[in-house]
């Protein structure tokens, strides 16, 4: 058996093993042996690839919006509130510097808002802690940090970011007020989610500028 014949059969024997001739060739041919070793190594390495990538927050926003529009979701009455994301995100964490801070702030904003309007959607009064979080100035401080960071790296864009931060904050305020008045208004909740999404986009793009 020569190399060409062995390699022709290789796709069909690499996992299960070959016949006597094929095994003999493999043992005696350094080129084919190296080839098989490499291919097996690649296959093994691939198995160890973990799902490391995380989709952006907009994916969940899109799913959530569609679920509500299609009427597939409703909160269950009388069940214990479940907030794994909140527990993780709202627990005290050391402040990171620079870009990590911006990314954290964007995620915090979205998480806080989603938790906030879930409270409203089920009717009970806001808990003191959530109310405090929503009405706190933490968001404003983060906005200022974003703007300072952009100003340092791209002064030309800082004015644009400032103006648009004001716009999107106004959007969030308007939508939030409407949801407060009528928690069953799915359209208003959708607007609130989108507004948060847009703010998160602004943060994300600001982060990209500061990393350039």
């Amino acid at each position: 058996m020569n190399c060409a014949e062995f390699q022709k059969a290789l796709p069909y024997i690499i996992e299960t093993g070959g016949n006597a001739d094929e095994e003999t060739h493999l043992k005696s041919c350094a080129v084919c042996s190296d080839l098989v070793q490499d291919l097996r190594y690649i296959a093994e390495a691939a198995k160890l690839l973990l799902p490391m990538q995380e989709p952006s927050p907009r994916v969940w926003s899109g799913i959530q919006g569609a679920l509500e529009r299609e009427g597939l979701v409703r909160p269950l009455a009388g069940t214990a509130r479940f907030r794994p994301q909140a527990a993780t995100i709202l627990s005290p964490r050391p402040w990171a510097t620079g870009g990590n801070l911006l990314a954290f702030a964007a995620l915090l904003l979205i998480a806080v808002t989603i938790i906030w309007f879930r409270n409203h959607a089920t009717g009970p009064a806001m808990t003191a802690s959530v109310s405090q979080t929503v009405s706190s100035t933490a968001v404003d401080d983060d906005d200022n940090q974003v703007l300072s960071a952009v100003e340092k790296k791209s002064p030309a864009l800082a004015a644009i970011y400032r103006e648009n931060l004001d716009s999107v904050n106004a959007y969030i305020r308007d939508a939030r007020r409407t949801v407060e008045q009528d928690p069953s208004d799915m359209g208003a909740r959708d607007h609130l989610l989108r507004a948060c999404d847009e703010k998160a986009l602004l943060y994300k793009m600001a982060l990209a500028r500061t990393e350039q």
């Binding site: 190399c3 060409a4 390699q7 022709k8 290789l10 796709p11 069909y12 690499i14 350094a30 080129v31 190296d34 080839l35 070793q37 490499d38 291919l39 190594y41 690649i42 296959a43 390495a45 691939a46 198995k47 160890l48 690839l49 973990l50 799902p51 490391m52 990538q53 995380e54 989709p55 952006s56 907009r58 994916v59 969940w60 899109g62 799913i63 959530q64 569609a66 679920l67 299609e70 597939l72 979701v73 409703r74 909160p75 269950l76 069940t79 214990a80 509130r81 479940f82 907030r83 794994p84 994301q85 527990a87 879930r118 959607a121």
Partner: protein
Amino acid sequence: MAQAKKLAAPGLLESEAIDRAKRGDAESFEALYALHKRRVYSLCLRMTGNTAEAEDLTQEAFLQLYRKIATFRGESAFSTWLHRLAVNVVLMHLRKKGLPEVSLEESMEPQQEDGPKKDVGARDNVLAGSIDRVNLERAIESLPPGYRIIFVLHDVEGYEHNEIAEMMGCSIGNSKSQLHKARMKLRDLLRLSRAGKLSRR
């Protein structure tokens, strides 16, 4: 059920989240998404090689899941069910785009460019131990779409050839042949990458 032991989040078993999601509980939907999003997204990203597409397909896969969740009876693990659904979403999308999945007129002869050099000369060092995850991910991303799909389904995600053949509408032999070509292509890419690194030292 095997998945009954898995936690969707602190204090919530996956099986409970599934039951609640069937009744429209919003928080359970979110918990299931949080539990499975990385795997689904990574699958979509590896198969398409494009983040925008992968995000859209991830969204579509979860929406289809939620629309069909009432029909899940627990005959298989939930993650398996979701995974298969995601694969089908990606494959349907690729079919609509007209991208080649598997060549149906696969030649059984080894292609010249796929074979290693048979000439006499010093043997190249084998790859074992020299590949890191980042290089492998990049190389997979660089594969032609048809090769990439088969490689991701078989070597990364662990589907068998008979399953791949059924999903892709090809023969088992074709699946094996395409997988072999994908691995050969990866071998070339990884060797080039390693050679590039060595020359920069």
